[in-house]
Amino acid sequence: MTARVAWIAVVAQLATTVVHADPAEDRALAHLDRGVAAFRAGDFAQARAEIAEAQRLVPDRPNPYRWLAMTEVELGDCRSALVNIESFLSRVPAGDPRVAEVIALRGRCVSTGTLRVDSVPSGAALHVDGGSPIATTPTPNLAIAAGTHRLTLAKPGYVALEAPLEVRATGVTYARYELIAERADRPVYRRWWLWAAAGAVAITAAGLTYALTRDGDARLPPVTCDATGCHP
């Protein structure tokens, strides 16, 4: 009699398991496992694709958001990572042991900014905080710790330019500087008028190219800010 009851219980348990099996969960788990493996192997693009698929299959589960955020931080996409961090945090209790790690990740994201520097003339070496040159103007997007930095632009024939710049944690901080030619009177290539002429030719060419190729940005009326406030 006891054996029969036990057998019935086992069958009932199996039936329950079969009823609750969720193919989407299984597929999501497989994608997540592959994504985590790719993350650990340093293949972050593949990791993002796999984990995003897992997240799509089980949008209510928190863990894919966490892994997605970690992957996006590695890919330099903090903007997306911040969204996934908030999605994760909204799906777990405050005491979840993964919360501290994710909040630290958010801190890392909000303390990094993107910097782009250009100069007239271009081709100047960019130094940040007195370090070695990291790029030549016009620079690509450079990831840099948010805060105030000391930029130095150096180009042969021009006075080295040094300026402080506050780099914002979100968005792109863009700076453009005009370099002043050095005074020199020996070799022809160091005469100011030679470079002025070359610069005029370059600016004319750039202006013509720009004028001929641009679509034309839309324009909104200017805003004037004074002691009484800002007015359109």
Binding site: R79, R116, T204, C225
Partner: protein
């Protein structure tokens, strides 16, 4: 003859450049270039501008009923800035039909009489709670060292730049961290000045912490040698 042609070409170039620059003719001016990966066109651009110790919110828009496609540019002309360079923080909200499609933030330092260019990207807004306070970058676009109030229908409104750090507090209003030393018992302090809090609220210091809060609708003035006061 050649000189004449060269002068003509240069005059054309200068005229062409001037026409394309929204700051043309202005003394102290920031050219604001706005773009977005997700927003195609707007009918209003709301701006929250913190310039030096001043703060204002305004809206610029195309002719009534017209839409403006992104990328777009506009100018922020600064007057009466004094003689020193000023830090300018800009938060923008692109709106269409009264709905905020995206927000973005940028800042720069500009010296009187100079022009600067700032690029700002509008991104989809996150779900901040209307009326709650956030550091820039925490649920809303802005400067990480400035405290903002979430404005569900428009651009986040700056409460003020924090003297020190702005502290993110999940589940509670963010605050400016008290900076500049320890508060004196019985003294009054604006939030962020020796006490954690909102820069537009005056707090009473009791045993080193804020004990009472008085909102300052006109702003809160930090004074070095005396109690802080509401303006």
């Amino acid at each position: 003859m050649i000189r004449g042609r060269l002068a003509l070409a240069l005059a054309w170039l200068v005229a062409a450049c001037s026409d394309d620059d929204p700051c043309a003719g202005a003394d102290t001016c920031i050219r604001l270039d706005v773009d977005s990966a997700t927003v195609e066109r707007i009918d209003h651009l709301e701006l929250d501008v913190v310039y030096g110790a001043r703060h204002a919110t305004t809206t610029t828009q195309a002719t009534e009923g017209h839409l403006t496609a992104l990328p777009l540019s506009t100018a922020i002309v600064l007057e009466d800035t004094g003689g020193d360079p000023v830090v300018v923080g800009i938060v923008a909200a692109g709106k269409l039909g009264g709905n905020v499609l995206g927000t973005g933030a940028a800042s720069t330092t500009i010296a009187p009489g100079r022009h600067a260019t700032v690029e700002l990207e509008l991104s989809p807004t996150e779900d901040c709670s209307a009326g709650a306070r956030y550091c820039g970058g925490d649920m809303l676009a802005g400067d990480p060292r400035t405290l903002y109030q979430c404005n569900a229908g428009g651009v986040p409104i700056a409460r003020g730049r924090c003297p020190g750090d702005c502290v993110v507090r999940p589940g509670k209003d963010d605050v400016c961290r008290g900076d500049g030393g320890v508060c004196r018992d019985g003294g009054s302090y604006c939030g962020g000045d020796k006490l954690d809090g909102d820069p537009q609220t005056l707090y009473l210091c009791m045993a080193g912490v804020a004990a009472a809060a008085t909102p300052c609708p006109g702003g809160c003035l930090v004074r070095a040698s005396d109690d802080d006061v509401c303006l």
